[in-house]
């Protein structure tokens, strides 16, 4: 499975949506978009993971 990605895992969620329920994955609530981007950037650097935008105010940090 070296060449095919079936090893992805959501490591964290960064969201503006305070209603986002936490379940199984760490959720980081951000006050505004600027803070969300910053948290996402830090997390993806720390975790060597990638930020993906679900375009509903929520970012997911995914390890590939």
């Amino acid at each position: 499975m070296d060449n095919i990605g079936i090893k992805e895992a959501i490591l964290a969620i960064v969201t503006l949506d305070k209603q986002q329920p936490a379940s199984g994955v760490p959720v980081f609530y951000a006050r505004d978009e600027k803070e969300r981007d910053k948290i996402a950037m830090y997390l993806s650097k720390i975790l060597s993971a990638m930020t993906h935008d679900l375009e509903n105010g929520t970012y997911i940090i995914v390890r590939h």
Binding site: N3, A40, S44, S48, T51, D53, H64
Partner: protein
């Protein structure tokens, strides 16, 4: 006795020359450390020695000596194993991995080149044994080296596909090369960098055989690796966002490749893609079969 010595010496010399010639051809994909060079030269020397003694041994009625060739084949299988192991070991340290298909292909090439050295020395010792003419032997040795290396030459992407520049664009957070969706890039800063510094090419297969070959994930990883090693890639181990990727357009079989290179030069990017070898293990020829031809209509 001394005649055999000359035969063997010339055979060995030509065999080593064959191996040296292949090492030169191989330079780009070869991890060019001096030790690796030495390893393969000495193995080539042993291989050509085995090839060279086979003919004099036969003539001296030492038939058991020929069975050494079988033993040699067994031994040289280990070369593939050795190359595979060492390339797999350094795979984690590559910013853009080669992928298992590429590794397998390189390992296979190294094994086969030792057989080419054996064949060359066998052939030249045969020629010298019967012609007794050293210049003729050397010339025919060079000819066989050329023929064998032409036979072992692999196709390039240039032979099976057309490479042209493509445009990078974003549909919201989705990175696209022309109409092919590559991946979701979440962070706005990363999107900006990709847009400003990234390059993209479209690889269009020439026929259905090429399409099947390009759809192989190992082949695409090989392209990405070669391009990244030639042009450099603007990422460190933590910057997953700038991993170069090659993704398929399922409707047409075209491959879109995106990379954020160190050297932002479209011409050399296209040249690098064109020169990537077509992997033996990825090569498909559906058009050669009846079912494949029917399906292509």
């Amino acid at each position: 006795m001394s005649k055999y010595l000359v035969v063997v010496a010339v055979g060995v010399a030509m065999g080593v020359m064959a191996r040296l010639f292949m090492l030169r051809v191989d330079y780009r994909q070869y991890p060019s450390y001096p030790q690796g060079y030495l390893i393969h030269l000495s193995l080539g020397l042993i291989a050509s020695f085995l090839g060279a003694v086979a003919m004099p041994a036969l003539i001296a009625r030492e038939y058991t000596a020929v069975t050494f060739l079988a033993l040699a084949a067994q031994q040289f299988r280990d070369i593939r194993e050795m190359e595979r192991k060492s390339l797999e070991n350094i795979e984690d340290t590559e910013l853009v991995p080669r992928g298992s298909a590429y590794i397998e292909d390189i390992a296979k090439a190294f094994e086969s080149r030792n057989y080419l050295a054996i064949l060359t020395s066998l052939f030249t010792s045969l020629v010298l044994q019967f012609s007794n003419n050293i210049p003729v032997t050397i010339l025919s040795g060079m000819a066989i080296i050329l023929v064998l290396s032409l036979m072992a030459r692999r196709k390039k992407i240039n032979d099976i596909a057309v490479v042209r520049p493509a445009r990078i664009r974003f549909e919201n957070s989705l990175l696209c090369v022309d109409n092919i969706a590559i991946m979701n890039v979440g962070h706005p800063d990363s999107r900006k960098i990709i847009k400003e510094q990234g390059l993209a090419v479209m690889i269009e297969p020439k026929d259905d055989n090429a399409r099947a070959t390009l759809s192989n994930a190992g082949q695409r990883q090989a392209i990405v690796h070669d391009v990244a090693s030639l042009l450099g890639v603007k990422r460190d181990v933590t910057d997953v966002d700038f991993m170069p990727l090659a993704r398929l357009d399922l409707d047409t079989g075209r491959v879109g490749l995106v990379i954020v290179p160190m050297e932002r030069d479209m011409e050399s990017l296209m040249e690098a893609v064109k020169r990537v070898p077509v992997l033996e293990s990825s090569r498909r020829k559906p058009l050669e079969s009846f079912a494949g031809k029917q399906a292509a209509d």
